[in-house]
Protein backbone atom coordinates (compact mmCIF):
# COMPACT_ATOMS: atom_id res chain seq x y z
CA UNK A 1 0.00 0.00 0.00
CA UNK A 2 1.24 3.46 -0.75
CA UNK A 3 1.00 6.35 1.68
CA UNK A 4 -2.18 7.65 0.10
CA UNK A 5 -3.93 4.33 0.56
CA UNK A 6 -2.71 4.04 4.14
CA UNK A 7 -4.00 7.52 4.84
CA UNK A 8 -7.38 6.75 3.32
CA UNK A 9 -7.66 3.57 5.32
CA UNK A 10 -6.79 5.47 8.48
CA UNK A 11 -9.26 8.29 7.81
CA UNK A 12 -12.06 5.86 7.02
CA UNK A 13 -11.38 3.83 10.12
CA UNK A 14 -11.37 6.90 12.31
CA UNK A 15 -14.54 8.19 10.70
CA UNK A 16 -16.29 4.91 11.39
CA UNK A 17 -15.37 5.15 15.06
CA UNK A 18 -17.10 8.51 15.23
CA UNK A 19 -20.09 7.29 13.26
CA UNK A 20 -20.52 4.35 15.56
CA UNK A 21 -20.48 6.69 18.53
CA UNK A 22 -17.36 5.10 19.97
CA UNK A 23 -15.61 8.44 19.97
CA UNK A 24 -16.93 11.94 20.34
CA UNK A 25 -15.55 15.42 19.74
CA UNK A 26 -13.39 15.32 22.83
CA UNK A 27 -11.10 12.91 20.98
CA UNK A 28 -10.63 15.60 18.35
CA UNK A 29 -9.66 18.02 21.11
CA UNK A 30 -6.94 15.58 22.14
CA UNK A 31 -5.65 15.30 18.59
CA UNK A 32 -5.49 19.06 18.33
CA UNK A 33 -3.28 19.19 21.40
CA UNK A 34 -0.74 16.96 19.72
CA UNK A 35 2.05 18.59 17.75
CA UNK A 36 5.72 18.15 16.85
CA UNK A 37 6.79 18.97 20.38
CA UNK A 38 4.30 16.44 21.80
CA UNK A 39 3.94 13.88 19.02
CA UNK A 40 2.74 11.07 21.26
CA UNK A 41 0.29 12.98 23.36
CA UNK A 42 -2.83 11.11 22.25
CA UNK A 43 -1.26 7.68 22.64
CA UNK A 44 0.06 8.67 26.06
CA UNK A 45 -3.27 9.88 27.36
CA UNK A 46 -5.13 6.94 25.90
CA UNK A 47 -2.60 4.54 27.44
CA UNK A 48 -3.24 6.11 30.83
CA UNK A 49 -6.94 5.65 30.18
CA UNK A 50 -6.42 1.96 29.40
CA UNK A 51 -4.44 1.38 32.58
CA UNK A 52 -6.84 3.32 34.75
CA UNK A 53 -9.96 1.75 33.27
CA UNK A 54 -8.81 -1.82 33.62
CA UNK A 55 -7.99 -1.19 37.24
CA UNK A 56 -11.41 0.35 37.81
CA UNK A 57 -13.29 -2.40 36.00
CA UNK A 58 -11.51 -5.04 38.05
CA UNK A 59 -12.29 -3.17 41.23
CA UNK A 60 -15.90 -2.88 40.17
CA UNK A 61 -16.25 -6.60 39.58
CA UNK A 62 -14.65 -7.27 42.92
CA UNK A 63 -16.84 -4.79 44.81
CA UNK A 64 -19.99 -6.10 43.17
CA UNK A 65 -18.98 -9.63 44.07
CA UNK A 66 -19.03 -8.95 47.79
CA UNK A 67 -21.67 -10.33 50.14
CA UNK A 68 -22.66 -6.84 51.12
CA UNK A 69 -22.19 -4.41 48.28
CA UNK A 70 -20.77 -1.01 49.11
CA UNK A 71 -22.71 1.04 46.58
CA UNK A 72 -20.91 4.22 47.52
CA UNK A 73 -17.65 2.59 46.57
CA UNK A 74 -19.14 1.28 43.34
CA UNK A 75 -20.45 4.72 42.52
CA UNK A 76 -17.09 6.31 43.23
CA UNK A 77 -15.37 3.96 40.79
CA UNK A 78 -18.01 4.48 38.13
CA UNK A 79 -17.73 8.22 38.58
CA UNK A 80 -14.01 7.96 37.97
CA UNK A 81 -14.48 5.80 34.89
CA UNK A 82 -17.09 8.16 33.57
CA UNK A 83 -14.73 11.08 34.04
CA UNK A 84 -11.78 9.52 32.34
CA UNK A 85 -13.78 8.13 29.42
CA UNK A 86 -15.33 11.55 28.98
CA UNK A 87 -11.90 13.17 29.03
CA UNK A 88 -10.63 11.10 26.14
CA UNK A 89 -13.86 11.05 24.17
CA UNK A 90 -14.78 7.40 24.70
CA UNK A 91 -18.45 8.20 24.35
CA UNK A 92 -20.02 4.78 24.69
CA UNK A 93 -18.04 3.93 27.78
CA UNK A 94 -19.10 7.24 29.26
CA UNK A 95 -22.75 6.57 28.46
CA UNK A 96 -22.54 3.10 29.99
CA UNK A 97 -21.28 4.78 33.15
CA UNK A 98 -24.16 7.23 33.21
CA UNK A 99 -26.65 4.37 33.21
CA UNK A 100 -24.53 2.57 35.76
CA UNK A 101 -24.63 5.45 38.21
CA UNK A 102 -28.42 5.46 38.15
CA UNK A 103 -28.49 1.83 39.23
CA UNK A 104 -25.96 2.58 41.95
CA UNK A 105 -28.21 5.27 43.27
CA UNK A 106 -31.11 2.86 43.33
CA UNK A 107 -28.86 0.20 44.87
CA UNK A 108 -30.12 -2.13 42.19
CA UNK A 109 -27.75 -5.09 42.24
CA UNK A 110 -28.94 -6.70 39.04
CA UNK A 111 -28.86 -3.42 37.22
CA UNK A 112 -25.33 -2.84 38.42
CA UNK A 113 -24.17 -6.28 37.38
CA UNK A 114 -25.61 -5.73 33.93
CA UNK A 115 -23.95 -2.35 33.76
CA UNK A 116 -20.52 -3.56 34.69
CA UNK A 117 -20.78 -6.09 31.88
CA UNK A 118 -21.90 -3.38 29.51
CA UNK A 119 -19.11 -1.05 30.60
CA UNK A 120 -16.53 -3.81 30.11
CA UNK A 121 -17.91 -4.59 26.69
CA UNK A 122 -17.80 -1.00 25.58
CA UNK A 123 -14.37 -0.52 27.05
CA UNK A 124 -12.81 -3.50 25.29
CA UNK A 125 -14.49 -2.54 22.07
CA UNK A 126 -13.09 0.97 22.05
CA UNK A 127 -9.74 -0.24 23.29
CA UNK A 128 -9.37 -2.68 20.43
CA UNK A 129 -10.38 -0.10 17.90
CA UNK A 130 -8.10 2.58 19.28
CA UNK A 131 -5.21 0.16 19.18
CA UNK A 132 -5.99 -0.56 15.55
CA UNK A 133 -6.25 3.15 14.86
CA UNK A 134 -2.85 3.78 16.38
CA UNK A 135 -1.38 0.91 14.35
CA UNK A 136 -2.77 2.39 11.16
CA UNK A 137 -1.33 5.73 12.18
CA UNK A 138 2.09 4.17 12.75
CA UNK A 139 2.01 2.60 9.31
CA UNK A 140 1.59 6.03 7.78
CA UNK A 141 4.48 7.42 9.82
CA UNK A 142 6.72 4.51 8.91
CA UNK A 143 5.87 5.00 5.24
CA UNK A 144 6.97 8.61 5.61
CA UNK A 145 3.49 10.09 5.38
CA UNK A 146 1.66 12.74 7.35
CA UNK A 147 -1.24 11.80 9.58
CA UNK A 148 -4.39 13.46 8.23
CA UNK A 149 -6.06 15.81 10.68
CA UNK A 150 -9.80 15.62 11.25
CA UNK A 151 -11.79 17.77 8.79
Amino acid sequence: MDVGQLQTRFVDYRKSMFCEGLLDSQFIQLQQLQDESNPDFVVEVVSLFFEDSEKLLNELSKTLGQQTIDFKKVDAHVHQLKGSSSSIGAQRVKNACIAFRNYCEEENIEGCLRCVQQAKQEYFLVKGKLETLFRLEQQIVVAGGVIPMVE
Binding site: K15, Q29, E44, L48, H79, G83, E151
Partner: protein, 208 residues
Protein backbone atom coordinates in the same frame (compact mmCIF):
# COMPACT_ATOMS: atom_id res chain seq x y z
CA UNK B 1 14.54 33.34 44.51
CA UNK B 2 12.54 32.18 41.55
CA UNK B 3 10.11 34.76 40.33
CA UNK B 4 7.76 34.12 37.47
CA UNK B 5 8.89 36.32 34.65
CA UNK B 6 6.39 38.68 33.15
CA UNK B 7 6.15 36.52 30.10
CA UNK B 8 5.13 33.33 31.83
CA UNK B 9 2.35 32.81 34.28
CA UNK B 10 2.55 29.85 36.60
CA UNK B 11 -0.54 27.74 37.12
CA UNK B 12 -1.00 25.15 39.82
CA UNK B 13 -3.34 22.39 38.64
CA UNK B 14 -5.01 20.07 41.13
CA UNK B 15 -6.78 16.87 40.07
CA UNK B 16 -6.83 13.35 41.45
CA UNK B 17 -7.28 11.84 37.98
CA UNK B 18 -4.02 11.14 36.23
CA UNK B 19 -5.71 11.45 32.86
CA UNK B 20 -7.21 14.82 33.66
CA UNK B 21 -3.91 16.02 35.08
CA UNK B 22 -2.17 15.16 31.86
CA UNK B 23 -4.86 16.85 29.87
CA UNK B 24 -4.95 20.06 31.87
CA UNK B 25 -1.18 20.20 31.87
CA UNK B 26 -1.10 19.98 28.08
CA UNK B 27 -3.86 22.55 27.72
CA UNK B 28 -2.03 24.97 29.99
CA UNK B 29 1.36 24.42 28.36
CA UNK B 30 -0.18 24.94 24.93
CA UNK B 31 -1.28 28.31 26.24
CA UNK B 32 2.31 29.06 27.28
CA UNK B 33 1.75 28.79 30.99
CA UNK B 34 4.20 27.21 33.34
CA UNK B 35 2.47 24.30 35.06
CA UNK B 36 2.75 22.39 38.29
CA UNK B 37 0.26 19.55 38.62
CA UNK B 38 -0.54 17.83 41.92
CA UNK B 39 -3.02 15.12 42.77
CA UNK B 40 -4.65 16.46 45.92
CA UNK B 41 -5.72 19.57 47.79
CA UNK B 42 -3.31 18.86 50.59
CA UNK B 43 -0.40 18.57 48.17
CA UNK B 44 -1.51 21.84 46.62
CA UNK B 45 -1.44 23.57 49.98
CA UNK B 46 1.92 22.03 50.70
CA UNK B 47 3.24 23.38 47.42
CA UNK B 48 1.85 26.79 48.23
CA UNK B 49 3.65 26.68 51.56
CA UNK B 50 0.37 27.00 53.34
CA UNK B 51 0.75 27.66 57.01
CA UNK B 52 -2.41 27.93 59.08
CA UNK B 53 -0.81 30.41 61.43
CA UNK B 54 0.35 32.61 58.61
CA UNK B 55 -0.74 36.12 59.22
CA UNK B 56 2.38 38.04 58.47
CA UNK B 57 2.77 37.77 54.74
CA UNK B 58 0.00 40.11 53.83
CA UNK B 59 1.95 41.97 51.23
CA UNK B 60 3.40 38.91 49.61
CA UNK B 61 1.68 36.89 47.00
CA UNK B 62 4.19 34.16 47.29
CA UNK B 63 4.91 31.53 49.81
CA UNK B 64 6.11 31.79 53.36
CA UNK B 65 9.89 31.82 53.86
CA UNK B 66 9.60 28.21 55.04
CA UNK B 67 9.89 27.12 51.43
CA UNK B 68 13.44 27.02 50.22
CA UNK B 69 12.48 28.49 46.89
CA UNK B 70 9.75 31.05 46.69
CA UNK B 71 7.28 29.90 44.18
CA UNK B 72 4.95 32.35 42.63
CA UNK B 73 1.64 30.87 41.62
CA UNK B 74 -0.54 33.07 39.49
CA UNK B 75 -3.62 30.86 39.34
CA UNK B 76 -4.93 27.66 40.83
CA UNK B 77 -7.18 25.41 38.80
CA UNK B 78 -8.71 22.56 40.72
CA UNK B 79 -11.10 19.68 40.26
CA UNK B 80 -14.14 19.80 42.48
CA UNK B 81 -14.65 16.10 43.26
CA UNK B 82 -11.55 14.80 44.97
CA UNK B 83 -11.22 12.35 47.82
CA UNK B 84 -10.27 13.96 51.11
CA UNK B 85 -10.14 17.68 50.44
CA UNK B 86 -12.56 18.70 47.73
CA UNK B 87 -11.87 21.56 45.36
CA UNK B 88 -14.35 23.60 47.33
CA UNK B 89 -12.49 22.90 50.60
CA UNK B 90 -9.26 23.94 48.91
CA UNK B 91 -10.87 27.11 47.59
CA UNK B 92 -12.06 28.00 51.08
CA UNK B 93 -8.68 27.44 52.63
CA UNK B 94 -7.03 29.61 50.01
CA UNK B 95 -9.52 32.44 50.40
CA UNK B 96 -9.16 32.30 54.17
CA UNK B 97 -5.40 32.59 53.97
CA UNK B 98 -4.04 36.10 54.13
CA UNK B 99 -1.10 35.19 51.93
CA UNK B 100 -2.94 33.13 49.36
CA UNK B 101 -6.35 34.75 49.05
CA UNK B 102 -5.39 36.95 46.14
CA UNK B 103 -4.50 34.02 43.93
CA UNK B 104 -7.35 33.48 41.48
CA UNK B 105 -8.96 30.06 41.75
CA UNK B 106 -10.85 28.20 39.04
CA UNK B 107 -12.95 25.11 39.69
CA UNK B 108 -13.49 22.22 37.25
CA UNK B 109 -16.22 19.65 37.52
CA UNK B 110 -17.69 16.89 35.42
CA UNK B 111 -21.10 17.61 36.87
CA UNK B 112 -23.33 20.51 36.07
CA UNK B 113 -24.91 21.24 39.43
CA UNK B 114 -26.05 24.88 39.66
CA UNK B 115 -26.01 24.95 43.47
CA UNK B 116 -22.44 23.69 43.42
CA UNK B 117 -21.42 26.26 40.84
CA UNK B 118 -23.03 29.07 42.81
CA UNK B 119 -21.41 27.96 46.02
CA UNK B 120 -17.98 28.04 44.42
CA UNK B 121 -18.49 31.40 42.79
CA UNK B 122 -19.79 32.84 46.04
CA UNK B 123 -16.75 31.52 47.84
CA UNK B 124 -14.57 33.46 45.42
CA UNK B 125 -13.85 31.18 42.49
CA UNK B 126 -13.28 33.18 39.34
CA UNK B 127 -14.62 30.61 36.93
CA UNK B 128 -16.28 27.24 36.91
CA UNK B 129 -15.40 24.97 34.00
CA UNK B 130 -17.32 21.90 33.03
CA UNK B 131 -15.17 18.92 32.15
CA UNK B 132 -13.78 17.97 29.80
CA UNK B 133 -11.99 21.30 29.83
CA UNK B 134 -11.10 22.71 26.44
CA UNK B 135 -8.66 25.20 25.05
CA UNK B 136 -11.41 27.80 24.83
CA UNK B 137 -11.84 27.51 28.60
CA UNK B 138 -8.13 27.84 29.26
CA UNK B 139 -8.06 30.97 27.09
CA UNK B 140 -10.21 32.63 29.75
CA UNK B 141 -7.55 32.31 32.42
CA UNK B 142 -5.08 34.98 31.46
CA UNK B 143 -7.26 38.01 32.29
CA UNK B 144 -7.69 36.73 35.84
CA UNK B 145 -3.95 36.37 36.27
CA UNK B 146 -3.29 39.78 34.78
CA UNK B 147 -5.82 41.34 37.08
CA UNK B 148 -4.30 39.74 40.15
CA UNK B 149 -0.86 40.89 39.11
CA UNK B 150 -2.00 44.46 38.62
CA UNK B 151 -3.90 44.45 41.87
CA UNK B 152 -0.82 43.41 43.77
CA UNK B 153 1.34 46.02 42.13
CA UNK B 154 -1.36 48.59 42.73
CA UNK B 155 -1.23 49.81 39.18
CA UNK B 156 -4.25 51.70 37.98
CA UNK B 157 -4.72 49.21 35.22
CA UNK B 158 -8.48 49.09 35.36
CA UNK B 159 -8.83 50.47 31.86
CA UNK B 160 -6.50 47.83 30.52
CA UNK B 161 -8.45 45.12 32.27
CA UNK B 162 -11.75 46.31 30.88
CA UNK B 163 -10.33 46.33 27.42
CA UNK B 164 -9.40 42.69 27.68
CA UNK B 165 -11.79 39.88 26.96
CA UNK B 166 -13.52 38.45 29.93
CA UNK B 167 -15.04 40.52 32.71
CA UNK B 168 -15.40 38.77 36.03
CA UNK B 169 -18.49 37.65 37.84
CA UNK B 170 -21.60 38.88 36.17
CA UNK B 171 -24.39 37.32 38.01
CA UNK B 172 -26.60 40.35 37.96
CA UNK B 173 -26.30 40.92 34.25
CA UNK B 174 -28.17 39.17 31.50
CA UNK B 175 -26.18 36.51 29.73
CA UNK B 176 -23.91 38.02 27.13
CA UNK B 177 -23.16 36.21 23.95
CA UNK B 178 -19.34 36.23 24.03
CA UNK B 179 -18.09 36.80 27.49
CA UNK B 180 -18.18 34.60 30.51
CA UNK B 181 -20.40 32.18 28.72
CA UNK B 182 -19.11 29.32 30.70
CA UNK B 183 -20.63 30.08 34.06
CA UNK B 184 -24.05 30.97 32.81
CA UNK B 185 -23.97 28.27 30.20
CA UNK B 186 -23.26 25.68 32.82
CA UNK B 187 -26.24 26.80 34.84
CA UNK B 188 -28.65 27.53 32.03
CA UNK B 189 -28.23 24.23 30.34
CA UNK B 190 -30.51 22.59 32.77
CA UNK B 191 -30.16 20.69 35.95
CA UNK B 192 -29.24 17.38 34.44
CA UNK B 193 -25.92 16.32 35.77
CA UNK B 194 -24.78 14.80 32.52
CA UNK B 195 -25.27 16.91 29.54
CA UNK B 196 -23.66 16.30 26.27
CA UNK B 197 -22.70 19.18 24.13
CA UNK B 198 -22.63 18.69 20.42
CA UNK B 199 -19.69 20.76 19.41
CA UNK B 200 -18.63 19.92 15.92
CA UNK B 201 -21.30 20.03 13.34
CA UNK B 202 -18.88 18.95 10.67
CA UNK B 203 -18.35 15.52 12.06
CA UNK B 204 -21.03 12.92 12.27
CA UNK B 205 -21.39 11.84 15.82
CA UNK B 206 -24.15 9.53 16.87
CA UNK B 207 -25.75 11.50 19.62
CA UNK B 208 -27.22 9.86 22.63
Amino acid sequence: MVMASDSQFHVLAVDDSIIDRKLIERLLKTSSFQVTAVDSGSKALEFLGFNEDQQRNTDQRSVSPNNHHEVEVNLIITDYCMPGMTGYDLLKKIKESSSLKNIPVVIMSSENVPSRINRCLEEGAEEFFLKPVRLSDVNKLKPHMMKAKFKDHEKPAKQEEEASETPEVQQSQPPQPQSNNNKRKAMDEGLSSDRTRPRYSGLTVVSN
